[in-house]
Amino acid sequence: MRQYLFDAYELARLTETVNSAHKPIAEISIKIRPEEIYHYRHTSNWVKRLGLGTEESNQRTQAALDSLWAYALQLFVPLPGEAELVDANIVPDPATLRAAWEATVVPWLTGTGLSIPNPAEPATTSREQHTEHLITLLAEMQEVARIEGPDVKW
């Protein structure tokens, strides 16, 4: 579900940044967007399969959506300095992006037997701060390196 919500965001964003006034962003967006369509298709089909699967798969998928929705909405909270980039047509306006994103994910999720969580407010933690999840994530990602030590050769 997390990947689905993000892929929908990324596709909406790339659809806008292909027209970025900053040429390197426009060029890489033009290159990546067709590939991103595959990512979106992959995760959207999984959401559909799970949402319309069994009673249990539906409940678990709904639970994932309930816990992630507020975090997904954070993607549209402007970051410091972002307004200047929007004014210069370098990145899209987060409000425009949110409208495009909702136009994609709301009908898809409701069409797959899921309901959109209420209220539609972003999580209150800032995107400039890490959540408590980072500690366990880092611990897991660094586990092998910590066990093997710095001198290991592969």
Partner: protein, 159 residues
């Protein structure tokens, strides 16, 4: 004195490491060859943006041109214009199929057309196939199953 034609010809020896039956020229990866006062500049473009074969192909292109006796070789990786599967040469499509990899359909730039979700089985030619996984062993391949001859196969994704 090396000519661009000689270099283009020699680069036909450099194969795509993941699909060793086709060359980087046939795949449309080599975009331009310029020779100026003994200095060779080859412009190439990545296929998929995360393709791990890029660096291998870049090194092999450079080595192949050096073998021809070029004093100085520079390989430039250009992102624009973006590579598309429409640039794969017709002859190479037949080679992909013989290799067991369904060639990507030509879409003329309309990337949404590709979502007809059908691929012809490279083994028996049937269109009665279904997608099993959008991401196969590499980023650029989709895994299908042929309902006619009951074999799994891969398709090179159209982009």
């Amino acid at each position: 004195m090396l000519t661009p034609d000689e270099i283009w010809q020699a680069l036909r020896d450099v194969k795509d490491p993941e699909i060793p039956v086709v060359s980087v020229v046939e795949m449309g990866i080599v975009r331009e060859v310029v020779v100026e006062a003994g200095r060779v500049t080859v412009t190439m473009t990545p296929t998929f943006s995360g393709c791990p074969a890029l660096h291998v192909m870049k090194a092999e292109i450079e080595n192949r041109v050096k073998q021809l006796g070029a004093e100085s070789v520079e390989v430039i990786v250009a992102l624009a214009p973006r590579w598309t599967t429409d640039w794969i040469a017709d002859g190479a499509r037949a080679k992909l199929k013989a290799f067991g990899l369904a060639p990507p359909p030509v879409h003329h730039g309309d990337v949404n057309v590709m979502f007809l979700d059908t691929a012809s089985c490279p083994y028996c030619g049937s269109n009665d196939t279904s997608i099993k996984n959008t991401f196969g062993p590499t980023l650029c391949r989709t895994i299908y199953y042929c309902n006619a001859c009951q074999q799994p196969f891969e398709q090179f994704k159209p982009v």
